[in-house]
């Protein structure tokens, strides 16, 4: 049964939140793979994963970050940022 984009985005948001608690960073590709693993091939495809990520970012719940590779994280103050 296909999931809605919102459901997938919610799932991904939860993954990002949990990962961040243990200082772990997830890549967009990781999130899609996790979603497919959780909901099965018939629940999510790669395109839906992509749309869910777009939704996450446009809603402001997640931001892209870069440390030698691009990740999705909860918005937070930059460690290196100057006030």
């Amino acid at each position: 049964m296909a999931k809605t984009i919102e459901e997938i985005a919610d799932f991904m948001f939860k993954q990002v939140s949990e990962a961040q608690e243990v200082s772990k960073k997830l890549k967009p590709g990781d999130l899609t793979k996790l979603a497919i693993k959780a909901f099965g091939d018939e629940g999510v495809d790669k395109k839906m994963g992509k749309m869910a990520i777009k939704e996450l970012v446009l809603s402001g719940k997640c931001v892209y970050t870069y440390f030698g590779g691009s990740f999705l994280e909860l918005p937070h103050r930059e460690g290196a940022a100057n006030d």
């Binding site: 200082s23 772990k24 960073k25 440390f67 030698g68 590779g69 460690g79 290196a80």
Partner: protein, 354 residues
Amino acid sequence: DRITDIGPPDFKEYLPPAVKKNYGQWKYHEILEAGVLVHVAESGDKLYTVRCGSPRLVSTTSILFYTEIADKYCDGFLRFTSRHNVEFLTTEFDNVAKIKAEMTEYGNPVGGTGPSITSIVHTQGWVHCHSAATDASGVVKAVMDDLFEYFNEMKLPAKCRIALACCLNMCGAVHCSDIAILGIHTAYPRIDHENLNKLCEIPNISASCPTAAIRPATVDGKPSVELIEEQCMYCANCFTVCPAMPLADPVADGISLWVGGKVSNARSEPKFSKLAVPFIPNNPPRWPEVTSAIRKMVEVWAENARPYERMGEWIDRVGWPRFFKLTGFEFSKMHIDDFKYAGLSFKRSAQITH
């Protein structure tokens, strides 16, 4: 109504009329003098190009000056090259001398065509980069000042492409240059055990090390990493994924020089640059040891190579022993490869010069 994903402007709107008219219909070209080309179209149209050196780091003030020149002589069009030069295209031969005069006067000399040294492709260095092992613009300025005669004259055996990257990340992908200037660290990363776990993911750091020199460890009760120093070759890949492992050091940072690479498929196949000088300490503002080593390489090549022979092609013909002999550069254990494909770099033949 936020505009996104529109991509770049359509280049067709930015093409000068002569280019639009003769698009894909060019017949041949000639180099009229250093920095000046003429392209002749099947239609008989002639398009003159004046190529001007640029410092790459350009102020809007200078860009606006370029637009003035382009408005005056080039119908309001101009272009840049893949090596940071600015080019003025005109169908009027008379404009060539005028563009040349005005640009030179402003400080952007004309040259860089044919068997010459053109602008150096380079990175940001201390101007902007967090991982630089040297400056970029300053080294480039010092080197090009020294080699200027090879920019505005065409007196070399072939073209010579110089590039600079201020650390091993090689944003400037210098690895296929006739001469590559590469910023290099030679001090181990200093691990900020206090903050490492806050800033970075430990398994990620371990995985980043090409020689597996970094292992998870608990230091003062905090999760952190330890470094097996003998396995570290200062690549700074760990720093790239984790800012809590800086390597930069005023004494241990410096420049390595590499030689004999090429990208073009003409004559020989593309090849990587090879190590010539492993380390020269940073010596701003003019890095005299760097400029003189580069001049040495250019001069021995210019004296000994045959026409059309790129630096690396010349060395391939006469052999690396000759290169080290003529330049006087010291050969050491560091020159002998010990990475993945090391074995193939040994001299596995009895073809030898004496």
